[in-house]
């Protein structure tokens, strides 16, 4: 089935919110979205066929971000995964083994700004995997396709990413998010 431009445009909100979490500011996000759609429309104009347009659009978005944006702009360097792991290991250990019975309502009451802060604190690769999985509902297989990485890597990024995200949000839920960030 050949997708029409209107069908592609129907995904603009999804593409924009992911772009916003990739670029971390609205101006760059808009540039990313525009570039993504320019490339997509050009492809359509050449009458090429697309299998699953939402995943395909995300693939263009990710490639645009990784190839042009992340290289050219002076973004903060990627966080070393091992450091992140050891930083969170102790907390996670405690969370896993301790009889911590938290009140789930606390997580429900988190502010949008707190969720945003926690997501933005994640390393790029983890954040991308989390957004594709939790927010956009792609399967691990589709994410592997979109990002062009093996499915094992997808699983490990999602696992680690969600663990870190939970700890970030837990600290917000306890009202500690701001203080911990200051340390």
């Amino acid at each position: 089935m050949i997708s029409t431009k209107d069908e592609l445009i129907s995904h603009i909100d999804s593409i924009y919110r992911s772009a916003l979490y990739l670029a971390k500011n609205p101006e760059d996000a808009e540039d990313l979205v525009q570039e993504t759609f320019i490339k997509a429309f050009k492809f359509l104009d050449n009458n090429k066929k697309i299998e699953y347009e939402k995943a395909w659009l995300f693939k263009i978005l990710m490639n645009t971000f990784i190839n042009q944006y992340r290289k050219s702009k002076s973004n903060p360097p990627l966080v070393d995964f091992d450091t992140v792991e050891s930083y969170h290991a102790s907390v996670e250990e405690e969370a896993l083994n301790g009889p911590v019975m938290e009140n789930k309502e606390k997580f429900d009451d988190l502010l949008d700004s707190e969720v945003k802060g926690a997501l933005e604190a994640l390393p790029d690769d983890f954040r991308i995997a989390i957004l594709l999985s939790i927010v956009e509902g792609f399967t691990y297989n589709e994410i592997s396709e979109i990002l062009g990485i093996p499915i094992g890597t997808v699983m490990s990024r999602i696992y680690r990413g969600k663990k870190i995200l939970k700890e970030e949000l837990r600290s917000y839920a306890k009202g500690l998010g701001y203080e911990r960030r200051q340390e």
Binding site: K5, D6, L8, I9, I12, D13, I15, Y16, R17, L20, Y21, P26, E30, V33, Q34, F37, I38, F41, L96, P99, M101, E102, K104, F107, D108, L110, D112, V115, K116, L119, I130, L131, S133, I134, V135, T139, Y140, M155, I158, Y159, K162, L165, K166, L169
Partner: protein
């Protein structure tokens, strides 16, 4: 399965990525382990909260509009005309002829329209030029005959300079060019506002949009300058056409003219 190994699969379980066998194992464990089922419930709450928060963001309307424009670029007049005319093979020669005819007509209309208004444009821009250059004229004189002599010597035109009443003074004159022909511009001060009088023949003015007024058996055309500040009046003398430009309103300009 013990709690630790079950928790390793928490996320894959929530994401529905486990094979049937492992799924059943996890479900069985959750059924009997209160702690694990509470923990997985919290994971679900967190994921839902994150999902809900991010989904509340939508693309700005301005971005949506610009993407929509990119998707459907409006075809230009000529390309859509071409598309329509050439859609049917039989129409090809007819289409070519009609579009050629149309292009020529449009070209002539635009050209003649511009030519007809060229005198107004040049007169107005000369007026601005004069204002900016602090009345730098080729000849400075309050004497009507001196100005007439200057115009006769330089352009070969015997012009009839109109008389003005009230607080209007002659300042001087300079030369301007239209269609490679020298055309005189005479400058006045009406009170403390400068006015320029453009005198010539065959201006071929397009006066369809000008307001027509009959004063002392004389037809006077009134129009606005391009700058939005200036007023232009024009009339036909015995031999020459006159165009007067000033920042004062056109009725006042007409009011100070007595000889027409």
């Amino acid at each position: 399965m013990n709690c630790n190994s079950v928790r390793k699969y928490f996320y894959a379980f929530i994401d529905n990525e486990l094979d049937v066998e492992r799924n059943i194992e996890i479900l069985a464990h959750l059924d009997m382990c209160y702690e694990c089922s509470t923990k997985i419930e919290i994971e679900r709450v967190i994921q839902n909260r994150v999902k809900e928060s991010v989904l509340s963001i939508s693309a700005p309307d301005s971005l949506k509009r610009s993407i929509a424009v990119m998707a459907n670029p409006r075809p230009s007049f000529f390309s859509s005309l071409k598309e329509k005319l050439f859609a049917n093979g039989v129409l090809k020669p007819v289409g070519a002829f009609v579009s050629l005819l149309l292009i020529i007509t449009v070209f002539i209309v635009i050209l003649s329209y511009n030519m007809q208004n060229e005198a107004f444009h040049i007169a107005e821009s000369e007026y601005h030029h004069m204002l900016m250059n602090d009345m730098e004229t080729d000849i400075r004189s309050k004497n009507k005959n001196a100005i007439k002599g200057y115009i006769l010597d330089n352009v070969g035109l015997d012009v009839d300079l109109p008389d003005f009443r009230g607080n209007t003074k002659l300042i001087g004159a300079s030369l301007s060019t239209i269609n490679d022909k020298s055309v005189p511009l005479v400058y006045y001060m009406i009170g403390n506002v400068p006015a320029a009088l453009y005198i010539g023949r065959d201006f071929d003015l397009n006066l369809s949009k000008a307001k027509r007024e009959l004063i002392n058996d004389m037809v006077i055309y009134k129009t606005d300058g391009d700058c939005g500040d200036c007023k232009i009046i024009s009339w036909q003398g015995d031999d020459n056409q006159y165009i007067m430009i000033s920042k004062i309103n056109s009725n006042r300009m007409i009011g100070v003219l007595t000889s027409i």
